[in-house]
Each structure stands twice: as structure tokens, then as C-alpha cells.
């Protein structure tokens, strides 16, 4: 069932705009009125990354009059496999600025508003206030819950999409008209339980599959056509090439948020309490590790360096002298027997989060002198061995 259009139409389209949008204008459901609504619409895209890239490109081409872009990051070479709004010459540039330039090239009639800052509890309500609709393409649970709570408090609809490897999920949340994100997932997973794209990878083109559905829903909400994806979760499996539709209901036991939480990072837990405790006084730097490795070669120190990442990651880069035992082996209880009992254990992963989780397991198993490497192999490549690729 279609809802009332979210946005009032602009007064008029210029002759240039009529020429540009003619393929929309001759669709009866869109027409002049629909295109004028798009022109008057203010849409905020959170994250000019994997989902934000196709979303911004198509929203701009469709003639959304005002596009807000919030991103504090800069373009990295490893983004270009999927973040198609950025190009080779944008490496090192602010993502928000790079996205703005691409939008201007696609459609000069779009007014772009940049928010080159991290979305947080202090700015979210103010940033959202100026927009009719929000697209959430962020990469972490803390921001996901922050976006939801702010949208519920302000009564605004938002289009939500998320991706991992070959799988995507997409829906529209609008507390006034249907369920909100907390009805679907009342609580975030504990840290370490669900890997991120940076840890687990994502098929680049999956961003387009999910991002295009997000834009499709945005256009329908703005112009008031079709059946919005409210109360429905679409799950996409790119390997099987199958979309599955599931129902989302309002949770009768759930209370919609009426105020923001004080700390979303703490709510989602960047590290579990056990890992944070274990790492507190047992973290060494890559510089320390480098000198420890030299001492090990010279025979003045003995330890085993264990990389707890996955085999695919180990193929990309590694710290020389490490052995690979993926984190899952520790969780399954299979790894402890593989460790020498008479040597100190030094753990390391990509950035230090997974190794901290494993550290907690080792300490509780009695390997009290174990340590982990802060910053992981990313820090090793940055500070010790820039000849290796990072990811």
C-alpha cells in the first residue's frame, strides 16, 4: 500500500531539467509532480562507502535536489574495489569531497551538503533535522543503533541496508508507519561474534545490488508511489541469486527509544569486557614485537607468535616468524593443545580486536604471561614493513 508522498513538489522544473528528466516524466506514476517532489527532497546518505557510492550516484542522477553526505574518512586504495563513486585520483582525499565532485559531474542541479565529521550522539539530531529521509550505509552496529534511535525520536523514515560477503539485507524503518530497527534486532551482537566487511570481506558488486534497492525505496517514499519496504526484510544471497522476503513486526515487548543513549560504542562493545581486561596490561607495540623477534633470532628470547586471522588474510600479508591458528580454533577449544606449554605466547590479528578476544581465552586457561600486539598486522605494515600490502 502506497503512503502519502514524503515531500511537497517544487514550484517548477526548468527547461533544462525537463530535458534531463524526460524518461522519468513520461512514466505516469512519476510524472511532473513526482519529479518536482524529487527536486524538493533533502536526503542524507550516511557513509560515502560501499552502499553510499551507488546510492549517491543514483539519487543524484534521479534529480534529488539536496543530497547530504556524512563521512569523516579518506579514500583508500582498498575502497576502490566497490566504492565506485571514488576514483584512482581521489586516493587520500576526503570521501565526502570526492563524492561531492562525482555528484556534480553526474548532475550539476543537485545541491550537495557535506558533513565531514563522525556521526555521534552530540550531532546526530541536529544533522538529521534538515533532511526528509536518511539512507544508512554505515559499517558498524554502534552507528546503526544511533541512526535508528535518532530517526525514531525525530519521526523520520530511513532506508537501511547492510552487506557481508555475498549476503545483503535491506528494509525501510519508520516508527510512525511500522517497525523500527530495534524491533528486528533488539540488541547488537557481542563484539567478535559478527565480523565486519574489513575482517570478512564483501563482494564489491553486492553494494550495487543492495544500494540500488535502497535508492528505489527512497524514490518511492519521496514520491508516494508503490509499496514501501516497511515491515519487510529483504535478504539477498548473491551466490544462489535469491531474494527472500521476511516479515518484520513491532515488538510488543520493545519500547521505542525516546532519548539517545549516552554511549553507543559502549552499548555495542568494541571489545568484550573479558578481552578489554585481558589486554589492559598485556599489549605490546609492533616496535616491541620487532625487537623481540630480533632477540628470538639471537637466541636471547623465546616465544611463539600466533596469527589468529583467517587463511585468506594470511595470504595477503604476515609478520615473519608467525604461525597461523585462526580465532575459531581457540573458540572451539582445539587450539590450546597446538601451543607449546613452555613458551610465552604472543598473539596478533589484523588490528588487535580478535587477538584481544583470544588473549582472554589464553589467560583464563592459565597462560598468564601471554600478550597481544596492539594494532596487529596493519600497524606492522605501516610502521615496520611498508613493502607488504595492507587491506
Amino acid at each position: 500500500m502506497a503512503l502519502a508522498p514524503l515531500v511537497e513538489p517544487a514550484d517548477e522544473l526548468t527547461v533544462d531539467e525537463v530535458r534531463r528528466y524526460s524518461r522519468h516524466l513520461i512514466i505516469p506514476d512519476v510524472g511532473m509532480a513526482g519529479q518536482k517532489r524529487l527536486k524538493n527532497a533533502k536526503v542524507l546518505v550516511i557513509g560515502a562507502g560501499g552502499l553510499g557510492s551507488p546510492a549517491l550516484l543514483y539519487l543524484a542522477a534521479a534529480g534529488v535536489g539536496t543530497l547530504g553526505i556524512i563521512d569523516f574518512d579518506t579514500v583508500d586504495e582498498s575502497n576502490l574495489q566497490r566504492q565506485v563513486i571514488h576514483g584512482q585520483s581521489d586516493i587520500g582525499k576526503s570521501k565526502a569531497l570526492s563524492a561531492k565532485e562525482s555528484v556534480a559531474e553526474i548532475n550539476p542541479y543537485v545541491n550537495v551538503v557535506l558533513h565531514e565529521e563522525r556521526l555521534d550522539v552530540d550531532n546526530v539530531l541536529q544533522v538529521f533535522a534538515d533532511y526528509d529521509l536518511i539512507l544508512d550505509g554505515t559499517d558498524n552496529f554502534a552507528t546503526r543503533y544511533l541512526v535508528n534511535d535518532a530517526a525514531v525520536i525525530l519521526g523520520k523514515p530511513y532506508v537501511w541496508g547492510s552487506i557481508y560477503r555475498f549476503e545483503g539485507q535491506v528494509s525501510v524503518f519508520w516508527a510512525q508507519e511500522g517497525p523500527q530497527y530495534r524491533d528486528l534486532y533488539p540488541e547488537p551482537p557481542p563484539p567478535g561474534m559478527v565480523p565486519s566487511c574489513a575482517e570478512g570481506g564483501v563482494l564489491g558488486v553486492l553494494c550495487a545490488s543492495i544500494g540500488s534497492v535502497m535508492v528505489n525505496e527512497a524514490i518511492k517514499l519521496i514520491t508516494g508511489i508503490g509499496d514501501p519496504l516497511i515491515g519487510r526484510l529483504l535478504v539477498f544471497d548473491a551466490l544462489e541469486m535469491r531474494w527472500t522476503e521476511l516479515k518484520i513486526r513491532r515488538d510488543p515487548h520493545g519500547e521505542p527509544p525516546t532519548a539517545l543513549l549516552e554511549d553507543y560504542e559502549a552499548f555495542c562493545g568494541v571489545l568484550s569486557d573479558e578481552a578489554a581486561d585481558a589486554a589492559a596490561d598485556s599489549t605490546i607495540s609492533v616496535t616491541t614485537l620487532s625487537s623481540w623477534l630480533k632477540e628470538r633470532e639471537e637466541g636471547t628470547r623465546d616465544f611463539v607468535l600466533v596469527d589468529v586471522r583467517e587463511p585468506n588474510e594470511y595470504e595477503i600479508n604476515k609478520i615473519p616468524g608467525s604461525v597461523l591458528i585462526p580465532k575459531g580454533e581457540f573458540l572451539a577449544g582445539n587450539a590450546l593443545s597446538q601451543l607449546p606449554q613452555d613458551k610465552q605466547v604472543v598473539l596478533q590479528c589484523k588490528s588487535g580486536a580478535r587477538s584481544a578476544e583470544v588473549l582472554a581465552i589464553l589467560k583464563s586457561a592459565g597462560l598468564e604471561d601471554s600478550v597481544h600486539v596492539g594494532g596487529g598486522v596493519v600497524a606492522w605494515v605501516n610502521q615496520i614493513d611498508p613493502s607488504q600490502p595492507s587491506y
Binding site: 557513509g47 562507502g49 560501499g50 552502499l51 553510499g52 544508512d136 550505509g137 554505515t138 559499517d139 558498524n140 552496529f141 546503526r144 541496508g161 547492510s162 552487506i163 557481508y164 560477503r165 555475498f166 549476503e167 539485507q169 528486528l184 534486532y185 533488539p186 540488541e187 547488537p188 551482537p189 561474534m193 559478527v194 565480523p195 565486519s196 566487511c197 574489513a198 570478512g200 564483501v202 526484510l233 535478504v235 544471497d237 551466490l239 544462489e240 527472500t244 522476503e245 521476511l246 516479515k247 518484520i248 513486526r249 515488538d251 510488543p252 575459531g328 572451539a332
Partner: protein
């Protein structure tokens, strides 16, 4: 009764990559126990220490979330698929 279960990407390490598996069961609880018997370790990713479905994982019978039916006691009618859908945050 044979039940087809959809396995999400993050749990396919337990099913050797299979996205869909068939187990025996009449309700969701017996389906999850049957999954555990065939794929040890998978149950703990779906159910917490108290035996409740984890709050960031949804289990559907057909298109219906079991939280809004009979929970783990929800019966699985013949021909209906069970889907496990965990929260995913990636968008980068």
C-alpha cells in the same frame, strides 16, 4: 519430518559452505538440536546460555519471526522452511 533450513553466510563455516541443509524436526527447538547434532557448535551461535534465541539472531518459520509466534516451541508445518537471519552491520 524433514525440514529445510537456510544457513546465513556467517554460520556456513559449520555446514562446510552449504547455504541450505535438511534436518529432522517438528518444532524450532528440535530443528536446532538436530542442526547441532549434524553441525556441532552451530547451536551456541543461535541460542544463548539460558537456552533463549540470541537477541541479534532471528529465526523464521516461513516468513514469520518465531519471536512473535511460539518462540522455540513454534511448530514447523510440512513444507515450510526455517531461516536463520543474524544481524549484519557492514556497509563500508
Amino acid at each position: 519430518m524433514s525440514v529445510s533450513v537456510r544457513i546465513p553466510t556467517i554460520l556456513r563455516t559449520y555446514t562446510k559452505g552449504d547455504s541450505e541443509v535438511t534436518v529432522e524436526g517438528d518444532d524450532v527447538a528440535s530443528v536446532i538440536d538436530a542442526l547441532e547434532a549434524s553441525y556441532p557448535g552451530i547451536k551456541a551461535r543461535v541460542v544463548d546460555e539460558t537456552g533463549a534465541i540470541r537477541r541479534f539472531v532471528n529465526v523464521y518459520v516461513g516468513t514469520e519471526d518465531i519471536r512473535f509466534a511460539e518462540g522455540l516451541g513454534t511448530t514447523v508445518p510440512t513444507g515450510q522452511q526455517v531461516s536463520i537471519i543474524p544481524a549484519v552491520a557492514g556497509g563500508c
